[in-house]
Every structure is written in structure tokens, then in C-alpha cells.
Symmetry: C2
Subunit: 335 residues, 2 copies
């Protein structure tokens, strides 16, 4: 099948660009120095491609992601980089994947207690390094590690996500260094082999973590592209023009709010100005007086934020040139 025969809206991965992104990242963060974050792409097929490139340890944000990775034979070393307070579901996850190595983030006595009762074997102490979200104060990390060990949990080290710096335009490297100083101070108190953190936005500035939690670099989006992180946009939404208003100067294509994560604003179309997205439409005009695409023409939309875009779709269409090679289920959706 050719790309232009795909039923639209279709979320499309350019395999050559994906592979180039993986190779570029692997050159800097080889093997398990990279712990790919599957939340960006939610596909075990894409995770398999990363594993084949040597990245056999994964990071995830939900139980469903961890369970799916384990079921797909990717349970060598899984990190649930998120707090869990639902003990029953955590216990079901652990007992349902007896062959997987599952490490869970904890940041409080409560989450340590939940992990211990659920049969979790190993944890990381999640440290707040400046972004208001989860994570303990750096100075509390040692106390929590001690508590975790007293409850029988293995403590592998620390994690801390400098998410507030991923697209930081001013002095990113210096700010990352300051954030990581907090994480390293916590690591001194905690011990263990792992200092986990970072992401696509700090892959070339974070020299302090032992493993990088990046995922968006695989597929990319306009937000990370504008931040200049150096990877190629391998993901696009292919749509078809349904209606043209020649007098008004706009066209309407068939992908919208239910196919695109919108928290980073409107998506982009090459050579065009996007007016807005509706539930099932994107309305746009052409820049510089270029002719409007006609009814039935294909239009490629660049998502502004990869993670919540992929989460809307059942599948990724894998393409090379103008050919469709494969279909990867987005099999890690939901919770």
C-alpha cells in the first residue's frame, strides 16, 4: 500500500527518520545508558525496535505500559517512573509479570508502604529537582531510602526529572546542572547504582545521570523541534481535504482534536497557516498565496505534542518513502 492509499486520519511513522533518531541517541547514550520512556509512543513494536538497538531497559508512566512491556517479552528491566497508591492494582501488576524485573518510584512513606505490601522488590527514590509534581525533597531522600530498606525493598538509587527544563531557552545546561546537583546530593544519601533522569530536551546537556529517560526523540513533535533538540520529526498525521472554500481562502481536512494532543497549541502544516482544529477537522490557509490543496488532496499535519497525540490512536502506520511497510498497534494505551 502507498501512503496516499491509507485511510485518513492516519498517524504515520517515517521508519528511516525513526531509525536515524534512534541511532543518533544511541551514539550518545548506548545500551542501557538509555532507558527509553514508552509513554511517548505506547507501542511494544516500537519498543522492540529500541531493544534491538541495545536499549533493553525501559521506563513507563502507567501500570498498563509496564504490564504490556512485560507481556511482550521486554521485562528485562522495567522502571515505573511514577508513584502508585493503588496497592491492589500494583500487586496484580507484580504477580502478573513474575519474570519481569520491575522497579517502582516512591517519594513518601505511603508509597513505600504500598510498594512493600504489593510485593515490589525494588524501588528508586523519586526526588523533586525543581518541577512541581512528584518527588521528595532532596534532603528527605536518605530517610525514605532507609525506610524502604527497613520494609524489605531493594533501593537501586534515585530518579529526578528536570521536566521544567526540557525546552528551556536560556542557560539550559547551567540550569540542568543545578537541578542535577540536587539529584546527586540525594543520591549521596540514598546509595545504589542508579541516577535516572533527563529527557529528550536535555539529552545533550545532562551529563550527570547514569541513565537517560527519553522517549519523545523517537517520533518528535513541533514543540521539541522548535526547542532545537536535533532529532527529526518522524511522526505526522496524514489527512485528506474534505472541503475547500476558494473565496474565503481556506481548506478543511479530516483530522482534528480527537487525533492531536492540543496542550502545546495548534499543530503545523508545511507552507500553511493553521486556523484552528475542531473535533474532526483542521482548517487552514496557505501562506504566500500558494494554491489551496483541493478536495481529496492529502495534507500532512505535524503534531505539537507527541505523547497525547499517539494516545488517541489505535495504530501507527510505518512507512518508508511512499510505501506503507507495517502497522504497529498502539497497545499500551489506557491505565
Amino acid at each position: 500500500m502507498r501512503i496516499d492509499e491509507l485511510p485518513t486520519p492516519a498517524l504515520v511513522v517515517d521508519l528511516d527518520l525513526l531509525d536515524a533518531n534512534i541511532a543518533r541517541m544511541a551514539a550518545a547514550w548506548p545500551g542501557t545508558r538509555l532507558r527509553p520512556h514508552v509513554k511517548a509512543f505506547k507501542s511494544t513494536a516500537l519498543a522492540q525496535r529500541l531493544a534491538a538497538a541495545g536499549h533493553t531497559a525501559f521506563c513507563a508512566a502507567t501500570r498498563r505500559e509496564i504490564a504490556g512491556l512485560a507481556a511482550a517479552g521486554l521485562g528485562h528491566d522495567l522502571l515505573l517512573a511514577n508513584e502508585v497508591v493503588d496497592g491492589d492494582r500494583l500487586a496484580a501488576l507484580i504477580s502478573g509479570a513474575p519474570d519481569a524485573r520491575i522497579t517502582v518510584a516512591v517519594d513518601s512513606p505511603e508509597t513505600i508502604e504500598v510498594a512493600a505490601r504489593a510485593g515490589v522488590a525494588e524501588v528508586l527514590i523519586d526526588v523533586n529537582v525543581g518541577m512541581p509534581r512528584c518527588g521528595c525533597a532532596p534532603e528527605d531522600a536518605g530517610r525514605l531510602a532507609e525506610l524502604a530498606r527497613s520494609r524489605g525493598l531493594g533501593v537501586r538509587g534515585v530518579m529526578g526529572y528536570e521536566g521544567h527544563l526540557m525546552a528551556e531557552p536560556v542557560d539550559r545546561a547551567a540550569k540542568v546542572e543545578a537541578a542535577m546537583a540536587l539529584l546527586l546530593a540525594a543520591h549521596e544519601l540514598v546509595g545504589g547504582d542508579i541516577v535516572s533522569g533527563g529527557g529528550t530536551g536535555t539529552w545533550d546537556s545532562n551529563q550527570w545521570v547514569t541513565e537517560l529517560q527519553a522517549g519523545s526523540f523517537t517520533l518528535m513533535d513541533t514543540h521539541y523541534d522548535a526547542a532545537g533538540v536535533g532529532f527529526a520529526k518522524a511522526l505526522s498525521l496524514h489527512t485528506t481535504v474534505l472541503s475547500v472554500n476558494a473565496i474565503g481562502g481556506w481548506s478543511t481536512c479530516d483530522g482534528g482534536l480527537k487525533a492531536l494532543g492540543m496542550d502545546h497549541g495548534d499543530p503545523a502544516i508545511d507552507g500553511a497557516s493553521v486556523w484552528y482544529c475542531a473535533d474532526e477537522h483542521t482548517v487552514f490557509s496557505m501562506a504566500d498565496g500558494a494554491p489551496l490543496p483541493g478536495i481529496g488532496d492529502r495534507v500532512r499535519i505535524w503534531p505539537a505534542h507527541v505523547d497525547p497525540t499517539v494516545a488517541y490512536h489505535e495504530r501507527l502506520w510505518v512507512t518508508q518513502g511512499d510505501q506503507v511497510l507495517d502497522e504497529w498497534p498502539v497497545d499500551l494505551r489506557g491505565w
Copy 2:
């Protein structure tokens, strides 16, 4: 099961409020005067409840929605209120639902040709009434109706969606009247029994359509609530607090960008200030010095936009008081 035993994040429908919304709308738009738009809720179970209240004609935005309604025995009178240029998939839809009455919107010679070749029996002429999207110019509607009839299509009338006025704060009624004057002028040229349009935002100001295409009124969101449309917020995202930062004054709960449509901005939490949403988290502080919810506490989030919120979820949990009564699959997702 009680609500507070639901695995979170959980999208929850308050059945009493839903039923009150349906009753309120039915009093103004009884029976097939209302053509509920299923794009807002994407659930045949919820559609069945509307059908039981007398609303047996439905409106949809995608082929998948139409096919699902037909398969659920709700094919009495279905309107695909959207343009289609993929003839193969349209033909499959029509041939796959031989017992359903399916009417399709057309706004161009191209979409008329696709409909005729796909075996569509009936169409509505889609008219632009002021919002830049699909729809022909009002003065072209008669010519298109003639073309459609010449191709063997039954023309049931016109549709025109005044979507740009749904939350219009100034002179909404007068602006709706002006938009509908365009639609009525087109109807004069087209003929047929149907003048279809309107939505939740104009349910009490649009006196000109023969049937109202409203769907959001069933579940509502903070955007329509702020517009003062008069229905109750029956939909909320139930979450659990995962982490509390007492010094910083924020809590983090377990529902975020992959559980909430974000194009209308951040969601709301009663008595709280939402700081931001991340992929799997919402971070907030309390207003007026109220105590922060603790780890494990439940937090109810009000979505800002119902349609793209529901589209992220596999199911709606149906509740009454603090009890969970049922689980409705969101079975009309995708395309």
C-alpha cells in the same frame, strides 16, 4: 462498587444529572426534533438512553460512529454530518448497514459524486452559515441539490452548523438568527423537509431549525458551563492524589493530558487552582488556604471540553450517588 473504589483515572457519569439534562432538552426539543450528536459521548449505551427518551434520529461525525450506531440497532435515521471523499470506505459503510437509513452531508460536486458512487440514498446540502469549515455558500446550495438529484440522490434538505456562536457572549440570539437566515435562504433553493443545525450552545436561541444537532448537553464541560447554557456537569474525571508537597503547597493526582481534552485550556477542580497537566498528572493547589488533599485522597476534575476528553477513554463509569451502577463502553472511537 462505590465511586471511591474505582480504579483511577476514571471518567464518571452522574446518571441523575445526565437524565435531568436529557429531560430538560427533551422538553424543548422532543422526539426527533432533537437529533443527538454522538460525537460528544461516543457511546451506543448513552445513545440507547436518548433513544429510550424518544430521540431515535442521530447525528455523527465519523463513519465509525455511524457504523456503530447501526450495529447497535439505532439505525432508524442516521445523519453523517460531515463530508466524505473516501468512496471505498463510504461504500463499505452503506453496504455494511443495509437496514439503516443513512443520510450524508455534501457540500461540493466532488462529495456528491462520491456519495452517488458509494450507494448513498439520501443527502443533506451542508451550508456554510459563518464558521470557516465545511459547507457550501448559501447561493450555491440549490445548484448542488439539483446536481445531487440528477445523480439519483434523494435530497432531504439542508444543514448548517453555527459553531462559531456556541459560546458567543454578545447578542447570541441575534447572531444565530442572522446565521440561520443564510440557512433558510439555502433551504428555499434546496427544498426537502429538513433544516438541521444548532448545538448545545444555541439550544435556547435557535428557533429556525427543524431539528437540533446537540450532544454536549448530555455530559457538559466547564466551557459550556461558563457559557451559561443551563445544563449540569454530569461528567468528571476521578483521580487519586499520588504525591503532596506540603512546603510548596501543591498536590499531584493521577489524571492528565491523556485523559483530558486540552484545547479549551486546563480543567477545573472545585476549590482549587490547577497549575498544569502533564501526561499522567494534574498539579494543583487549594484556594483560600484550604488544606491540601492527602496521598490517596480522591479528587474530581471537571473537563474543559467533553468531546476530546471522552475520546481518550475506553469506558464511562455510570454512577448514582456514591455507587457505581454500570460501565458503558466508549465504543465509537476511532475512524
